[in-house]
Structure formats: structure tokens, C-alpha cells
Symmetry: C2
Subunit: 643 residues, 2 copies
């Protein structure tokens, strides 16, 4: 026997409903007044009739119910309009895998676990604005919050993305000794179990063993210097045995080679990168504004084979309200094989477990020269496969895999997948004779211009900005304090297969704070590290070209400011270098500037302040005549030595 | 850029797989040896070929992945065999709404929120054994763990059912004052938010305001005497304002009329009863064994329109490992409109928020006498609607709604639903003239025999065992300590519409501990309360018949041991009544025995120990000559008074 208690609840929900109706009316009145005020001369993006409220589909904010079905219905409704605007009343919305679109996507630099689960699946739209009104979208389990697939003019704004139970965990160090480390984990936020003495995180539909660690200073949220990929706990740290202590702490028993500081926060990395936060594929003219990414199951915003993207006021940062030190699981903005104009401005990145921005193409390897007009190619990186690499009409470059030189170009007439890894490329013109198995191809059509402006690259694992595109690149008025190199210009066709020799890079008016290069990661040779992987380096055939670094401010505590390999046309001019003594120099490279196999290098007009380290230049595998240091401006003399 | 870490994991999973293969081989060898030993003379329930392992469908224990799809596939596979046995390797399995069968079910005494989500949906089976091997099934969100729909010979065993985030919460009282109560809630187990100063629980896909409270003694787990539905916090308690305190406690600001004891545990009731734990409908010969129900979203095991059910070693109890004081959200075993033999033995019930066992039919009201052979009837209880109330051939009783007398019987030839509430019954023979609108019908075909044996009815809200069936009922060798009446024999066609005048009830060799009747709930007139609701009571036409209460042991601290209304043939013989002084008497009824409008009542051979209260009998609306108290045996004299 049960007493009926639903009446009061029903009244409550009626009240809520009438409130939201009132809000809608108020909004419409405002819209009307605003329209009068602005007059018809100013184009209004959408007529009132094009506005679709998700509330119409039974979805109220803060209901904690699965929003997926209602949002799908609202998106379907949007298809009926020419200029649809999907509007959420401000509040919290929850998204579960249930009812999510399940689709096989091969996502660049992402583990190919399929299907991807897409609670908000924007596919085949010619135009769409999603205005979440400052709402908080909370996701559950392993899902991809937003998917924009073969759509144009999609504009998403005013939303934060988070998980109640994120795919990364953290702990506070409560004690250390020669034999153990003790940590405290908030089990409500980061549920875990112990299995065979190992720390295993469990969440909504997943279980995942701890596999990596980052140490953050509790007060400053900075990654503790000289940790990073050099190891927070030392080698063989995963031989620990975890034992619960009275009071709830965990003792990790093992004579760890390195101990973190008591009170510091360990970010405990676990789980696969299997979904992006916002996945943009095959799409054009998309815009993201006022978006906070607190957490993702993999890369933050992954754009691939897309064109003309604007990201403005995007924050990929830890959720301070939840006491977190980490934000996304991996990269912040990852652009793979895009084209057109990419603009990232007024954005912030902190607490990421991988590079904040990475722009590159995907090099593929020739595994069979089937005929003069047919090459069988292979995706070489396990996490970048299955993509539609080429399209009829695409221009490709043929790269000698030893010299990394693009020795010829061609145009594709067809693309035929064989399986997830391999595909056939068809050419009208015969492929040059010299091109052979093991050589690589890059797609030259899918190479974007990039502008990164007024962004803050704060404390993140790995590097700040990775640039691998031959398009026009402008990096200006940003602030860098990523723990590795601030900017990496790499390029290789032998290991990561992230292609793209640069041809036109301007790095201007940025500030490189002293947190840069406090930890070591791959390719971190200097604050700005130009470090392509070229098996047979030759100064006569430089890989990169035309890089201008000017009017920046560097605050190094260590020697290396600029490392450059295989560049033709590199100028470092009118920069200010200010010594910081906040950290102890540790980098093995004891030169401010290192140039390897470069041509046409200029150092000019740079100012030094304080007792900057090194004041020296190292030249390797190149002629001293290729370094120009004009005396007419006030730059102090750098000592030069060479091999 | 990402480093590949999956190799180790893959090796681990391979190792696990080979272990489970080894286990399977060992199991098969044992099975073979056992078969040899037992010989062919003993029937073996299933041949080895009929065993289906869920592991074959990619489901491993403790994976934390959603088990629903694999279990569905395994169930489909089971359909291929004559004697299928579905086997789970021991461990934890998680079930989410995703992929669950969604089906409209109208479940008795359950809020009709549809569709029901059925992760394990056993439908249309002729035979099936599910052996969970001692596994723990953990459910998420609002779902129905097991659904047995139109299936025969289904046997489920060796499983516990629980939620990580249950649909009921609890708190510890940390402080009280004239102006407030302070409580501490483990937010990891019972996540909550404050909305407008109100405590609102939030879970996996739901949000639910606190609407009721039970106070449990921290040490004994007993419901604090004189609380129950009389009110733990006093009237208007829900006018409180909740404010968080430093340290995480919540202060509930309001001058509560009653304060709970500091240190005691408040069970905070919230959420709708919208899914059963195990739902059995239209099914026959089903068996449940070695099952623990730690939590459900509504009734525990709801059986309706089903026949011949055996529940053995079923525990509906709080999960002590999680420090819980509550178990299921509502009733334990609820039998509505069943027939055949119902057997409940070696079962335990504790921490339930409603009656442990309730057996009844559903009375319906006549709302229109369309013709002599057609009655339009209505389900009268909001939570019991939409069921297939009648089947051609069913025998029904016509009940005068004022005297509650079954004045005639008839046989149905057809049942036609009009909507969820109303339906037409068709009769071959004309319905008696006297039967009119407002009179009621009960289905006499769907009335079971019931045996409840060797069960423990421990501390639960409400009553212990509710009996409303004309079938043969045996209640023996149980122990009762439910906080209200231990046994209630009710029956009404005016309020709850739970039908079923009893005709043959034997209550024998049970122990009624002193916790019985420590709190007040509806119909709790004595430890055994026979309390049908009859608007026009008349001793000449008793409602219930033939109730024998013998050889039991009662430990009352208060007056009322037996209350009986409208029974013909009631004997209370050879029982022992032992005074307990653990609690203070408070019941308004100051008689040991009260008989209202009864006939043929016998009190004989009862023994009293200690200073039992009352030693008296109250007769109302009946002739003193209908009470027999033979002097030949050793029973002490009870004083008798009457109206």
C-alpha cells in the first residue's frame, strides 16, 4: 500500500512550466523590441520562427534526465527551417550513451574503438546555430559530446562540457617515505577499486587502470619542474602495491625512485582516448564561441577534413569549482588534414594532458607501387587510420622518406579503401619513377592557413602549439607557459606521420613565460623547437621554410630559447629575452640558439635583460655563412661555435 | 601525439580469457564425473549442451561494462535449447538502461510510468534456468532488474541485486536543537543538491526531492519506537530550509516538532515506485532461490497473474557492506492476482520501506451496468491499473460495497479494455439484478494458496505479512519483528481495493518479538490485526472465515495482541504470551483481544508469562455468546467487556 505523493510534485512541475513559458514570452518581447531598435538594415541571423527551444521537447534544465532524445528531436525540428537556432534555457543538462547515435568514425590521433557514441549528432546541416545559453552539459560514460559531420555554417556557443566522473583522476599526496607514498583520492569524484594491489578507476560503464602521472603544485597549479615525461615517480613505479589505510588514504608500497611533494596533487592518468570532445569532420565554415571544455574522453576539439573554422573564447581548463587540476584527457584543439582558414583567438588552455593546439596533416606510406598510376598506401600511426585520406582532385606531395624532401607532386583521380589501414590512390599522370615503397605522401590540398591570437597556453603537459602546415601561419600576442616547448614545428614521415613542412610562419608579439620548458617531453629542444625528423639531414635541401620570430618576449631560466633544424629562411629579430631565476637550469642543451642544417638564418635587434644564460649560438651541419648577425642594431654579440 | 599503452592491457585480458576457459574446462570435467557418479537413474536438469555461458558473448565479470547487450544475446541463444541454463561466472555485472528492452507494463501497486526498462527480459520461455553463480548485479538509473513475462519453469538463482546509487537515501543525525537538525549524508552514495533550500537527491538520470523519513537506531537497526508513520520529525517538517555547514553537514533549519536522536540514522525516502525488482507476470512454475535484493526502484518481487511460485532463501535486506539501514524502496514480495501455490520459505526481510509480503487480489468497481451481461468496471487505485484483470472462464464474485459480502458469483466470457482504467466484462449468465454501480468485483479464479514458512520479518516500515486471499494459507515457524502489525488480514473494496476475504488461514508456531507494533501504521490494531474495511458492519454476515492462530509465541510490551473484525470461526489457542518491558506501552487500544462483529471465536489453552498487560477481551457489535473460553485447560481467565 502506498500513499500518493505525486500531487505536490505535479504542481511544482506545472509551476516550472509556466515559468519557462513566461521566460519565453519575455524573450520574444525582447527580441521584438531589439528588432525594432536595430531596424532592418542590420542583418538578423535568424527570424523568430527559426528558433527551436529544446524545452518544447519536454527537456527542462536541471531535470537530471537523459537529454539525448529531446535534443535529437529538436535537431530534427531544426531541419525544417532555413536558419535554425536551437536554444537551451540556462541550466544543467545530462547526456548518457542511451539513445545516442552510434556511428563508426575513424578519428585522427584517437584510438579506433567503435562505434562512437554521439549524443548530439549534427549531420548534413546547411546551417545551424546551437545556443546553449550558458548551460552546463554534463556527460556520462564514454561519449562524444558534439559531433559535426558534413555540415556547413554550424555555430555552437555558450556551453560548458564536463563529466561528473571524468576520464582522468587526481589525488593529493599525504605522506611519503623511502618505502611508500600515501595519497588521498576523493572517491566520489574519482571512484576506484583495488585489483591485485593496483589502483583501478571505475566509472559509468568503464574500468581503467592507472597508467601515468603528472605532479601539479598545489598552490600554483603548475606542473612541478623537471617532472613531465621524465617521470614523476621514477622508473618501474607501476610495481607498487596499493593498500588502503585507516581513514581512507591509500598507501602505495614501493621504493619509488622519485617522491612527489606532500600536499601536491597527482593527476592520475587512465583510460583510452576514444572520443573527441567536439568532433568536426567533412564540414565547412563552423564556429565555436564561449565554450568551456572541462573534460573530454580524448582530444578536445578534433577537426579533420574540414575547412574554415573559427574558435573564439574557448576555454579548455580544469573545473576549479570541482577542485580539479586537470582538464581534457589529451590535446586541446587538434586539426588534422584541414584546409582554408583556421582561427583560434581569445582561447585558454590549462591542465591538459597533451598539446593545447596541434595542426598537421597525415603522411601515409607507400607499401606497393601497383602501377605507374596506382599506389597502395598505408596509415602508419595506429591511432590515425580509416580516414578518407584523399579525394578526386586533391593534390599530393611525394616525400623521399630519408631526406624528407617533397620531390614531386601529383593529383589524385580516385581513392579506394582496402581496409582500415590500407588504400589505393589512383593518378592520371604517372607517378615519378623515383617514388618507391617506404616513401611517403602528403595531401597538399588539405593544408590550412592558421592564426592563433591572444591565447593563453598555461600549465599543460607536453608542448604548447604544434605547427605542421605549409599554409600561412600567424601566431601573435599569445602567452605561453606550457611545461615543455612553447612552440614545436616538427614534421615527419617516419614515426608519428604528422606531415606538413611549413612555408610561412610568423611568430610575433608573444610572451613566453618562465614556466616554458620546465619539463622534458619529446622534441623539446628549446622554448621554440623546430625539430623535424629527417633521417638523412642535408643543409642543401631544408625541410621547413620562412619562419619569422619577432617582437616576442622570452623569460628563460635555462639556456635554449630557439632550436631549429633544416629551415631555410629563419629570422629571430627584435625579441626581448629576460632572465628568470625562478627555476634551476637543467636542459642538456647549453646554447641559447642552435641551428642544424639551416640556411639563411638572421639574428638581429634582439635585446637581453638580466643575466641570460649562454648568449651563444651553436651551428651544426651548416655553413657559418648562413648565419647573419648584422651589427647595425643594438643586439649584443652572441658567441658562435660550430661542428 | 600519444604513446601506445594498450599492449599490457591486451595481455591482461588474454590472460583473463584463458583463465575463464580453464574454469569452463574444469567445470565440464566435474560435470562429467558427477554424471558418472549419479548415474542415469537420477534426472539431470540440463545436459552440458544446454548450458549457455554469458562469457561467450564477450561479457566478463568485473568489467564494469554495460552487460545488457551480451545478456540479451545469451538469452536469445538459450531459446535454441530444450533445457537452457544461462551461467554467469561469479563477479560483478553492471546493467544500464541503454539497450534494455523498453516495454509498457501496468504493474500492480506501482506508479504507471512507462515504458518500463528491462535489462534482463525473459519472455516466452518454456523453461530457463539462470544461475548467476553468486554474482552481484549492479543496476543503474531506474530499471527493472528481472522481468519474467509469460514464461514457464523459469528458475533464477544465486544473485544479488543492488544499485551503486540507490533510489532511497540515508543520513546520520549529527546535532539537534530547538531550531534545527543537522545531518551528514555520504554524498558519494547518496548524491544530492540543494534547490531552494530543499534537499533533492540526484542520481543516474533522475532527480528526486526528499518526501519521507524513517528513524533507525544506529546500533540495533531497529525503527525507533513510536515513530513510523506517526512522524519522525513532526508535522510540517518539510517547511525546513537546508543550509550546508562547514565540514559537509547539512543544517535543516526548522523548529521540528520531534527531534531524532543524535547518532541515529534517518532513512530519507524519495523517488517514485515505478519499477519492480523482479517482475513476474502471466507466468507459471517459477522459482527464485538464493537471491539477495539490496535495493529496488519499487516493489521487490512483484508477481501478478502468475501461478505456482516458489521463493526460497530470498533475502531482502540492507547492504551491510555499504553501511545501509534500508533495503528495498517498497514492499518485499507482492503477489497481486496470482493463483496456484505460492511458497515463501527461508526468506528474510529487513529495512524495507513497506510491507515485506502482501498477497491480494484487485477489486474493481462497477461504474456502469451496460446490460445484464455487460459491466463496465474501473480500476480504483491509481497505482493498479491497466492490468488484464479478467480472462474468459474466470470466475468472479460480486461484492456489495457496503456490507462487503460476496452476494453472487459469475463467469466471464470476455474482457475488453476501454482505457487504462476502465474495461468491459462480458458474462454468459445474467448478472444478478441486485448488483449495481459502486458495487465491486473480485476475481475468484486468481486467488492463490499461500505458505510462508521459516522466514524472518525483521525491522521494516509498516506491517509484516498482509494476507488477502481465500485460498489455503499457512504461516508457520516465522519470526516477526516488523514495526507495525506482524500480520494484517485486511480486505476492502472502498479504499485500496486490495480484495480477498480469507477462508482458511493457519498461523502456527511463529514467534512475534517485542519489536512488533512499536510504531503506528494504517490498520495496525494489534500484533495480529484482522481489519477489513466494511462500511456497514454486520455480525450476521462476517467477511473473513476460519482463522486459526495456534502454538505461537508473543512477546508484547503493549496491550493489543489480537484484533479481529468480521470473522466467522476464529480460534486463538495454545499460544504463549510473554511480557516484554523493553518499550513503553502507548497503543490507544487497551485490550489484549478485541473482537468486532465476529462469530465463533475461541480462546483456549493460552499461557501467559510475566505481567502481561490487559488480560482482557473487548467485544463489539457481537453477541458474548459467540466467544468461547473453555475452562478445561490451563488458560487464565480473561476479563471480558462489551458494548
Amino acid at each position: 500500500m502506498n500513499r500518493i505523493r505525486s500531487v505536490r510534485k505535479r504542481n511544482l512541475s506545472v509551476r516550472k512550466k509556466s515559468l519557462s513559458v513566461r521566460k519565453r514570452i519575455v524573450a520574444k518581447v525582447w527580441f521584438f523590441l531589439l528588432s525594432l531598435l536595430l531596424g532592418s538594415s542590420i542583418p538578423v541571423a535568424a527570424s523568430a520562427g527559426d528558433t527551436v527551444y529544446v524545452s518544447r521537447f519536454g527537456l527542462s534544465p536541471d531535470s537530471r534526465q537523459n537529454a539525448v532524445k529531446a535534443v535529437q528531436q529538436a535537431l530534427e525540428e531544426c531541419r525544417r527551417y532555413a536558419h535554425p537556432v536551437l536554444v537551451f534555457a540556462k541550466g544543467r543538462y545530462d547526456f548518457w550513451p542511451q539513445y545516442s547515435v552510434e556511428k563508426e568514425y575513424f578519428e585522427s590521433n584517437t584510438t579506433a574503438i567503435n562505434p562512437k557514441r554521439c549524443p548530439i549528432w549534427i549531420s548534413g546541416f546547411k546551417e545551424l546555430t546551437v545556443d546553449a545559453g550558458g548551460s552546463s552539459f554534463i556527460y556520462h560514460d564514454r561519449v562524444q559530446p558534439f559531433t559535426i559531420d558534413h555540415s556547413q555554417n554550424v555555430f555552437i556557443k555558450n556551453v560548458s562540457i564536463d563529466w561528473d566522473i571524468p576520464l582522468t583522476a587526481q589525488a593529493v599526496v599525504t605522506d611519503t617515505s623511502a618505502q611508500y607514498i600515501e595519497i588521498r583520492i576523493d572517491a566520489a569524484s574519482y571512484p576506484y577499486i583495488l585489483e591485485g594491489g593496483k589502483l583501478v578507476f571505475v566509472g559509468e560503464g568503464w574500468k581503467s587502470e592507472w597508467w601515468g602521472t603528472m605532479e601539479f603544485d598545489a598552490a600554483t597549479h603548475m606542473i612541478v619542474p623537471q617532472t613531465g615525461d621524465a617521470g614523476v615517480l621514477g622508473d618501474d613505479w607501476d610495481k607498487y602495491t596499493a593498500v588502503p589505510r585507516p581513514g581512507g588514504d591509500l598507501r602505495l608500497k614501493y621504493p619509488f625512485a622519485r617522491k612527489p611533494a606532500i600536499g601536491n596533487v597527482l593527476v592520475l592518468r587512465h583510460s583510452e582516448r576514444d572520443h573527441a570532445g567536439i568532433f568536426i569532420t567533412g564540414s565547412t565554415n563552423n564556429r565555436l564561441e564561449n565554450i568551456i571544455l572541462y573534460q573530454t574522453a580524448g582530444l578536445g576539439i578534433l577537426s579533420q577534413y574540414s575547412e574554415n573554422l573559427v574558435f573564439r573564447n574557448l576555454q579548455v581548463v580544469p573545473n576549479a569549482g570541482k577542485g580539479r587540476y586537470f582538464s581534457g584527457h589529451d590535446d586541446g584543439c587538434h586539426f588534422s588534414n584541414c584546409k582554408g582558414q583556421l582561427l583560434v583567438e581569445h582561447c585558454g588552455f590549462a591542465g591538459l594532458m597533451d598539446d593545447p593546439i596541434n595542426v598537421h596533416g597525415t603522411a601515409v606510406q607507400i607499401i606497393e607501387r601497383r602501377s605507374d598510376s596506382e599506389l597502395v598506401c598505408r596509415f602508419m600511426h595506429e591511432q590515425s587510420t580509416g580516414m578518407e585520406w584523399g579525394h578526386p582532385g586533391d593534390s599530393v606531395g611525394f616525400i623521399d622518406h630519408e631526406t624528407m624532401q617533397t620531390v614531386a607532386a601529383g593529383r589524385i583521380t580516385g581513392f579506394t579503401p582496402i581496409n582500415r589501414q590500407d588504400f589505393v590512390l589512383h593518378f592520371k599522370q604517372p607517378v615519378p619513377r623515383a617514388i618507391a615503397v617506404k616513401d611517403a605522401l602528403e595531401n597538399l590540398t588539405w593544408t590550412p592557413d592558421l592564426t592563433v591570437r591572444n591565447c593563453l597556453f598555461s600549465f599543460n603537459r607536453a608542448r604548447g602549439l604544434l605547427i605542421s602546415t605549409p599554409g600561412r601561419v600567424v601566431v601573435e600576442e599569445n602567452t605561453f607557459e606550457s611545461s615543455g616547448s612553447a612552440i614545436l614545428i616538427a614534421g615527419d614521415a617516419n614515426q608519428w606521420f604528422e606531415s606538413g613542412a611549413v612555408k610561412d610562419v610568423l611568430i610575433r608579439k608573444n610572451i613566453f613565460r618562465d614556466a616554458c620548458l620546465t619539463s622534458m617531453y619529446q622534441f623539446c629542444e628549446a622554448i621554440i623547437s623546430i625539430d623535424p625528423e629527417i633521417p638523412r639531414l642535408d643543409a642543401r635541401t631544408p625541410f621547413h621554410r620562412n619562419i619569422v620570430i619577432t617582437e616576442n618576449e622570452f623569460h628563460p631560466f635555462d639556456y635554449p630559447v630557439l632550436f631549429a633544424k633544416s629551415v631555410s629562411g629563419l629570422s629571430f629579430t627584435d625579441n626581448t629575452i629576460v632572465r628568470s631565476d625562478r627555476f634551476k637550469a637543467f636542459h642538456p642543451r647549453k646554447y641559447m640558439f642552435t641551428f642544424q642544417a639551416c640556411r639563411k638564418v638572421t639574428l638581429s635587434g634582439n635585446r637581453l635583460r638580466g643575466d641570460v644564460l649562454g648568449k651563444n649560438v651553436r651551428l651544426e651541419k651548416m655553413s657559418p655563412g648562413d648565419l647573419s648577425m648584422p651589427q647595425e642594431n643594438n643586439q649584443p654579440a652572441f658567441t658562435v661555435d660550430h661542428d
